[in-house]
Each structure stands twice: as C-alpha cells, then as structure tokens.
C-alpha cells in the first residue's frame, strides 16, 4: 500500500514530478515497456534494412568510391527482367518445395512415433533432436563427405548394390537431392516438435472413446488426430518455407550452386551479387523482392497461427 504510482515496471521508482512523472504516467506504460526492445530492433535491424532499401534506388557499388546516383526503379527492373533471377527462383522453389515436403513427411512420421509414452523416450528423442543443434557448416561438410564418390559412406553403401559408380552430386537432380536430404535431415526434427506438440495436445480420452467405439485406426486418425495437427502442419510448412528460403551455407558448401547453376538458390545468387560482384544496389533490390515474397508467406503464416489460436479457444 505504500507503493504508489511511481512504482512502475522498468523504473527504479525514484523519479517524481517533471519528466519522470510524465514518463511514468500509466497511459504510457505500454509504450515504456516496449521501448527497450524497439530501440534495439531499430538500431540493429530496422536501420540497416532502411539503409539497404534506400540503396536499392541508387547505383551504388560498395567497392567503388564513385558517388552513387539516383536510379529510381531501374535496379528492380533490371533484376526482374534478368533471366537468371527467374532461374534462381525456380531452383529455390524446387529445393524449398521438396525439402519442406520431405521435412513434413519425416517430421510427421517421427512425431507419430514419439507420440506414445515408452521407456527411455526422453533419451531416444534426444537422438532425433540433435541434428538441429549442429551448425550448417558442419552438416554441409560432412554430407559432402558422405556423398564423395571415393571416400563417402553413402557412396560406399550404394556401390555395394550397383556396378556403376554412385556419384550423387554428378547430375542436377542428384545434387538437388543431396542438398534436400541434408537440409531435411537437419530440420525434420523441428517439424516433428511442432507436430508432436499438436499430438500431445489431443486429449487422451478422445482416443479412449474411439477405442471403446471400436473405430479403426484410420478413422481415428482422420477424426481425432488430424484435426488437431492440421493447423500445426500448416504452421510448420510456412515456417520452414520461410527459413529454407534463406538456405545458404548447406548449398554453398555441398555444391556451390553446381553442377553448372543447377543448385544455385536465391540466397547464393544474392550472396554472389552482394559480396562478390559488389552490385550492392542491385542486390538490395533483389533482396527486397525476396523480402516481399517472404512477407506474403509470413502473412499466410500469421493467418495459420491465428486460426490455430481461434481453434484452441
């Protein structure tokens, strides 16, 4: 009761009167609480984003001392009319699509497996969760080694079954598969966790009722399990799609975009433009096109989250 209005969150309570009182007015409490987060975000994230957004309208090259001049939308025009951009988007779509699909399937099956309680589940679950904790670099390096035709264990095992030498990364399709497998291996556990969270949220009595009602496991799955996890699956798709869109290290290490340019994703293309070609402005324009796509995906994602929240209510 002795604690009066000065006792607000985020302050040490001493300020009274003047600016202090103004600041601590309960009307501003929300704004005050948000301030530290927004400040950090602004300085570390939003400012650089605006900087590069501004750049996308100039002809700036980071390697050149020339004063950049304003070019309006010409960078966007150039990026959007470049055949390579569309090729890279196609490659990215194929890799993102197949990787996310594989993650969903594997993650989903793993989740079904771990939905039951069994002895040592905590330990066995850790075996499956570990890939997520590795760095992209080490996953890339070791999968590349696994695929290596002479030294790789994958090649060795495959060679036991074929007479032709197994050369995983020798064709565009094989290289895409190699990347997709590595990425999906690493991130399927993430999908698994999402789905598992959905599965464990299904009340057990529904399964008991279905058992008493003698429902087949197929019918049980579609009437009980699936409705509970479908929005989580959508969540998983969108979240993984957004993240896989940024996939860089694994591609760069395993294939460097090869053979030819068959695995060059947008992220690798962006890297080359920004960091190797020093097309700073053009790459900023490309990045904003990517961001636009990602924002569309994010909106879908939020829609999914909101729907999930509504269902839970």
């Amino acid at each position: 009761m002795a604690e009066l209005a000065t006792d607000n969150l985020g302050t040490q309570g001493a300020a009274r009167g003047g600016f202090g009182a103004w600041l601590l007015d309960p009307k501003r409490r929300g704004a005050l609480l948000v301030t530290p987060a927004i400040t950090i975000l602004f300085v570390m994230n939003i400012f650089p984003l605006m900087w590069s957004f501004g750049l996308s309208f100039f002809n700036y090259k980071a390697s050149s001392p020339r004063v950049p001049s304003f070019r309006g939308l010409s960078n966007y025009e150039r990026v959007l009319t470049d055949d390579k951009t569309w090729e890279r988007f196609q490659t990215t779509a194929v890799i993102v699509g197949s990787s996310v699909l594989l993650q969903l399937i594997v993650g989903f099956l793993l989740a079904l497996m771990f939905a039951k309680a069994f002895p040592l589940r905590r330990i066995v679950l850790m075996l499956v969760l570990t890939p997520m904790m590795l760095s992209f670099v080490s996953v890339g390096v070791f999968f590349k080694l696994f695929y290596e035709p002479t030294f790789g264990i994958v090649s060795y095992v495959m060679n036991l079954f074929t007479t032709e030498k197994f050369v995983m990364l020798g064709s565009p399709a094989g290289a895409i598969a190699g990347i997709v497998i590595a990425d999906a291996w690493m991130w399927s556990p993430f999908v698994m966790l999402l789905v598992l969270a959905g599965l464990v949220s299904v009340p057990k009595y529904l399964y008991e009722a279905a058992e008493i009602d003698r429902a087949s496991s197929w019918r049980t799955f579609w009437t009980i399990t699936f409705p509970y996890i479908k929005s989580l699956l959508l969540l998983a798709i969108l979240f993984r799609t957004i993240e896989t869109f940024k996939l860089f290290d694994i591609v760069y290490i395993i294939t460097e975009g090869g053979p030819g340019s068959s695995t060059e994703t947008i992220a690798v293309f962006l890297y080359r433009n920004a960091f190797q070609f020093f097309q700073t402005s053009r790459s900023a324009a490309l990045a904003y096109i990517v961001l636009f796509i990602v924002i569309v995906l994010t909106n879908l994602y939020l829609y999914a989250v909101n729907r999930r929240a509504q269902e839970a209510n």
């Binding site: 001392p65 035709p149 002479t150 990364l169 020798g170 565009p172 030819g260 960091f275 190797q276 070609f277």
Partner: protein, 488 residues
C-alpha cells in the same frame, strides 16, 4: 587483440619525441594489423617476425596478424574494406582482387615510394617478373610489357603488392609405382614411350602422355598395381576441375594459353575482344583436351567438385598416381599423420603442350598471394610497413620461409645453390614460375570468374559441350565488358 591502435601509437611517438628533444631518429610504438589467411606460410611470417624483426628506424613495432580461416577470408576482408572499417594496415590478397580494391581506394599505390627508395627498387628488380606482373601491377601489365618497359619502377606502371607466398602448379607423383620396373616395362610396351620416373622424365611429359598415364593406371579393386593387389579402385591422374572459386579456370587457362589461345587480355584494353578470342577454335580444342582426360580421373570428377583439396586427399590416401596441384599444398603430403604416401612421393614440373619444335610449353596460371598496404595510414606507419616488406623480402627471411614450407619470389634467392634442396618441390617450382601468367585483375573479375566457372562446370559435368561453354562465356564477357567500357 592487443588493441593498441595506430593513433595511440602516434601519440606515444609524439610524447617520446618531445622527451628526447634533439635526437634525430624518432622512434615510436607502431602496430601493424595484417589480415592474413590462417595457414602455415602466414603463421610463419608472424612467428618469424616476433623472433627476428628489428625496426631500422628504432620503432617498437608490433605485427598484429588477424588470422582468418581460409574459406571465409575473402568475405572478411571484403566486408572490412567496403565498409570503411580501416582496420588493417596490411592485407594478404589474391592477385585477382587488386582491381576491385585499388579502384575502391583501399590498396596503397607504392609507385612513388619505390621511386624514392633504392632498397625497394632493388627488391622489385630482384623479384621474378612474372610475379611483379601478377602480384603488383594494376592496371595489369603482362610480363612481356614490363620487360619492354625496363626495370622497376617503370614509367606508366603502378605497383601495389609483394609476394607473401608465390605458388605454382607442379606434379605430385608416386615414385613407388612410376619407378616400378614392371609398370615401366608394361607402359613402354603399351605406348612405345617411357613412364616418367625421374624429374627429367617429367620435364619431357606432355598432356598426351598424361592421358596415357591416366588410362594406364586406371585399375579396379582386385587388380594388381606395382606388384600388389588393389583393395580399392585406383586412378592414374587428377587435376582440378572444381566449380568453387577459381579452381577449374586455373587449370583450363593453362591448356588454352599453351595451345596458343587466349582469355580476354585486359593488358590490351580497349582493343582486346572476348567474342572470337575466348571461344576461338584453338581455345575450344584446348578445353576439349582438358575435358578428355577427366574420364581417367576419380569419379568425383563427374561432380565438378574435384578441387585442389579433393585431389590432394585422393593422392594422400593412395587413390591416384599423379596429381597437378599447388606447391602450397605439398607439406601435408610429406606428413605421415595425414598422408599414406609421405615416403613414396616425388615432384616434377606440370605437363604441358608439345610445340612443333619438340619443346614443351608449360604456361600456367599463377597461384599464391601477394600482400599489400592500405591507404589510410600515416607516413610513419607506411614507412614502417615498408620496413617490414624489406625485412620479409630479405634473403635471410626468404630462405627461412622456404625452409619452413614457404616459397620465395626473389630471383637471387631462387638462384642460391641450397634453394632447390630446401623442399622436394623447389626445383619444379623454380622451373614452373618462369611460365606463369595471371588471370584478370579488373574490378569485375568476380563476375567474369563466376559465370565462367559455371559454364566450365556444366561442360565438366557433361551437361554441355566445350564449345557451348566457351560460346556462353565469350558472349557474357563481351556484353559485360562492353557495358563497362573495357571493350570498345
């Protein structure tokens, strides 16, 4: 990081100078921060500096090396330079980066310093002209142009870098199988020519024989090799055919140059063309020859990933008889903990193209790295940095570097009688360095390189023909170079 920056060093110098009054020689605390890839030749430089360096101006000088992992070296340096961080006083750089970072205003033009300083002039004149051309000049001057212009500093030439580690391609080969009598006889019987065993044999080895070696030693598990049964497949030859960075370009350029073809030659700007040169019939034939030997190489060749490290590993693990690789990757081959062939290896010059007169053209693309100074430093720091350059390029330091796995670019050092004996590949290296040329130095080199690597990779992995690849390269280069005004 011993964070004593240049500024505080200078302030220390001022105070010290005031205290000493009339003493003519000013001594100062100077820290030179150097961006360096993390590997033995630079580690040696740092260690040896700490052990031996004495500033001739009496400065208290610290060489603060920022060791950056090789695979990330370019990103780190590029980000530092283009952001204006001004962190480094010296930078180890690939010769191709010269254009981009000179034009950016980051690398210091040393022409005037060289003009003023006889010691530096002596060093420049003692450096092998191929190295001066590749490592130091921008705009790029070829060795022939430099030699025509007279001793350094020549009028109209801008000088930037000095060799930190000059590197060339040489042949690493398995003495135990190449000098195996049974194999030698079989080879002789099959091809009517000798299997190269000695250094001199390799001096007479051209690409045709290289291909024969590849065909000859391609054996499956269970077959015999030099009297022993193979547990695993074995291959005769390997050279790099990797998509990464500049890997396949380095090897392919050698074929093109040796056969009389050319890449777009920036030293003849703006008259040099890409279209018609890059994809000339000669160049196409050279590239086709390069591709024709891939069938004799380990299966990783089909992936476009057979880079300098992959062939080194294949060689060290005893999967391949001979490889062409950088001298800089030689040390591990002799290390028994990394290599199964440490006691069976010998080195020779890389093969080349036999000319009409019977001699062999070994023109190759130079490797290795120069180091440069940066533009934002005070005279005092620049002068001390040049002292470090002189220390590094002194015969004693260069000999010590060579003994510890480095290489020298000084002709006087390379001519020393003990030089060839310091490391087993030195003789080949000295022979090869005379053949070196370099790829482009222009700021847009990375765009040229990336596109070219991509097309080469398509040809290497069998997606398109050599001609299609070079046509695509020529078209792209022509358009890009016309765009920026390098081709009129």
């Amino acid at each position: 990081m011993k964070t004593r920056n240049v500024l505080s060093g200078l302030m220390g110098a001022t105070v010290l100078a005031a205290g000493l009054g009339a003493t003519p020689a000013l001594s100062a605390d100077i820290t030179i921060t150097m961006a360096a890839p993390d590997w033995p030749p630079t580690r040696f430089m740092k260690e040896h500096f700490d052990q031996t360096y004495q500033s001739p101006d009496g400065n208290n000088t610290t060489l603060d090396m920022d060791f950056i992992p090789w695979p990330s070296f370019y990103e780190r340096v590029a980000a530092s330079l283009t952001s204006g961080e001004q962190k480094y006083q010296m930078i180890v750089t690939d010769s191709q980066w010269l254009g981009a970072f000179v034009e950016g205003g980051y690398y210091l033009n040393l022409t005037d310093k060289i003009k003023e300083d006889p010691e530096l002039q002596a060093i420049m004149q003692d450096l092998h002209p191929a190295l001066v051309s590749a490592y130091s000049t921008y705009p790029h001057k070829t060795r022939a142009q430099l030699e025509a212009m007279g001793p350094a500093p020549a009028e109209g030439v801008n000088y930037y870098g000095f060799p930190q580690f000059p590197d060339t391609y040489v042949t690493f080969y398995r003495e135990d199988i190449f000098c195996n009598e049974g194999e030698m006889a079989a080879f002789q019987a099959k091809y009517g020519t000798n299997l190269p065993c000695t250094y001199e044999d390799w001096q007479d080895t051209d690409w045709q024989k290289w291909g024969q070696i590849g065909e000859f030693f391609q054996r499956s598990a269970g077959e015999m090799l030099a009297g022993e049964t193979l547990a695993d497949d074995f291959y005769g030859i390997a050279y790099q055919a990797g998509k990464g960075y500049d890997f396949s370009t380095m090897a392919i350029n050698a074929f093109i140059w040796q056969q009389g073809g050319d890449i777009w030659d920036e030293s003849k700007m703006p008259d040099a063309q890409a279209e018609g040169v890059v994809n000339s019939d000669v160049a196409v034939a050279a590239f086709e020859e390069y591709l024709s030997y891939l069938q004799y190489m380990p299966p990783v060749a089909q992936t476009g990933q057979m880079d300098i490290f992959v062939i080194q590993d294949l060689y060290m693990q005893g999967k391949v008889g001979a490889i062409i690789d950088w001298v800089g990757l030689g040390e591990p081959v002799l290390d028994p903990s990394a290599s199964t062939v440490s006691d069976k290896s010998a080195f020779g010059p890389a093969p080349g193209t036999r000319k009409a007169d019977g001699s062999i053209d070994r023109t190759g693309n130079i490797g290795g790295q120069p180091f440069v100074l940066t533009t934002w430093n005070s005279d005092e720091v620049v002068n001390e940095a040049l002292n470090v350059v002189k220390w590094w390029l002194s015969p004693d330091t260069q000999l010590a570097a060579t003994a510890n796995g480095g290489q020298s670019g000084l002709m006087s050092v390379m001519a020393m009688p003990e030089y060839n004996g310091l490391r087993p590949w030195n003789r080949a290296h000295v022979e090869m360095i005379d053949w070196q040329k370099d790829v482009w130095h222009i700021p847009e080199f990375f765009e040229l390189l990336t596109q070219q690597q991509e097309e080469f990779d398509k040809a290497i992995t069998g997606q398109i023909s050599a001609k299609d690849a070079l046509d695509a390269v020529a078209e792209f280069q022509q358009e890009l170079l016309e765009d920026i005004g390098f081709i009129e």
